[in-house]
Subunit: 182 residues, 4 copies
């Protein structure tokens, strides 16, 4: 009702998205999600009748929407495909540095837990499609292949960044996009 205070459902979804991303679906208890959201025990099943699995689906949808927004915010002011790629990688590097739950690759969260593979792939394809659309708009001659290449590198780099506890791998992605020797 109140547009300013987030609803209980939204708080649960946000808390779940954060926790599942860092600790995984099985590594996160619903009690933790409720505590993170600041809600009492019984309030989960009112908003998510299917329980934890429902929560995972909502969290994945939220993460997917956020990712689409981040891609949009990175590419919209860009003046060239390369500029957009650089902006996106830098955004991810800063998220990695500043927000603990962004240290885990958001794509991995889609593949853990009860989200069926088809839904996970649909989310991933949405990100690829959004990226390709921006690349196309900016004049990239092969937007689909470039988007796929970019995301392949991003996922791998994110995993390496996490293992190294350093966002350097994410910042190295633009150079890897430009040349075969980087």
């Amino acid at each position: 009702m109140d547009a300013h205070a987030p609803t209980s459902r939204a708080r649960l979804t946000e808390a779940a998205a954060r926790l599942f991303q860092v600790k995984g679906y099985h590594g996160t208890s619903v009690a933790e999600v409720l505590a993170e959201a600041g809600l009492p025990k019984g309030s989960l099943y009112h908003h998510f009748p299917q329980g934890k699995a429902d929560l995972a689906r909502a969290a994945a949808a939220l993460a997917s929407d956020m990712m689409r927004d981040i891609v949009g915010a990175a590419f919209e002011p860009a003046e060239s495909p390369g500029h957009g790629v650089a902006r996106l990688c830098e955004k991810f590097a800063r998220l990695f540095e500043r927000q603990p739950h962004w240290r885990a690759c958001p794509v991995q969260a889609l593949l853990d837990g009860p989200l069926d593979r088809m839904s996970a792939e649909a989310h991933l394809q949405a990100w690829l499609a959004a990226t390709a659309a921006h690349l196309d708009r900016l004049g990239d001659p092969a937007p689909d292949a470039r988007a796929r290449r970019l995301w392949t590198l991003l996922i791998g780099a994110w995993t390496m960044a996490r293992a190294a506890d350093d966002p350097g791998a994410l910042r190295a992605v633009p150079a890897m996009m430009e040349s075969a020797d980087a």
Copy 2:
């Protein structure tokens, strides 16, 4: 003791490596590991006094050794860096197709569970170093950068292959290594 029949400890480690890779550390119960290994309930703590965490460390070490062997087997008969890369990607694609637990990216398993980040990175660095050594031997002018690029792409491609339920992404990696436009 018997060098031909796998010992109980080895069977536990192998079962754990398989299960942790697919379902994650928190998604796998010790009961499942014991069932997969075909061993009785009480036998875990004889071989792994620290319990599940011990098992995770042993499983990671086993997976790491296997990966080093796979890299070696791919690069040793290779006649050029590109040939080695192609052989490695094809090996991974076939593992993905033929063995269910290889559908999950083996690097991800290092980042779940109680393995400390330093150990996970050490395993990953070992794979990078082994790959770089082979590339160097085969005459690659920038073996470290190429190894890093290869593994970044492999990790990303593996994740995409899993989401798509198709090893095509892994087979596309060699082309991505060669040119900035692939």
Copy 3:
């Protein structure tokens, strides 16, 4: 208020009577009752301030009234005690066949849940008394004993019918009433 459309209270009572009879008081949740009645979550406590226990009392009263009506409908057109008994047993057999919730013996429902034993016995005595009155009117020489005998057999036969998934036991009651050898 509307005499033609059943009120919310009546729909709740009927739903509860049906469900408690089949699944028992503890086996039925208030959410199920509300769903069966097609009413929203919050509406129970407007009609039954004491909640589930209140509902159980109303359901028992409703079942008791229905039973008295069934006994009346069976015996009123009867031309002899035996005819009335036969009609009553046949009615029960048909209810058993046609309405799922009549597969469970209605007397059992009185003994589960928060209905105090005195109330349960009062309902049962009312059925016995109604039956005895009809038998007396039809000229039975020992109406009380015959009513008691009839209901003892009916309760047992109903239980057997349910276990056998066959109303035959109910249809066998009239013969058991007539002779010691049936």
Copy 4:
């Protein structure tokens, strides 16, 4: 191992049989069963991997065996069918008086909870068969019909005894067996 101290499994089964008979399957919590058996929380699933439903099956089997023993003990010393019937009813009346959990009709317990109908009927048929065998041995001319009649009356009488809080109904069964006018 020790033949004198009942095993944990036996204590659980006995506790469950008692509690399910009085309070019903849904009205009894596993915590209550464990408390009644004097065992800690985790010990149920070691002996009954399927949990509460398994416990219900074991409890029904135990109750069924006990009933067969009671029937045997009543009829073996009997000198005639009528004598056996009288002894059985008196035994049940005394159980009703002396042991709280025998106030509930043991047949009803078979029809509550997860025991499938076929199993419930099998138990009931076993009691009928045991009773008929004894009646036959004692010279009853129609043992099957008489056994069926006896159990129909017993089940009904037990229910009435419970409602009345008085075992009189059970003690009235022999007379009902003998004559159509009782």
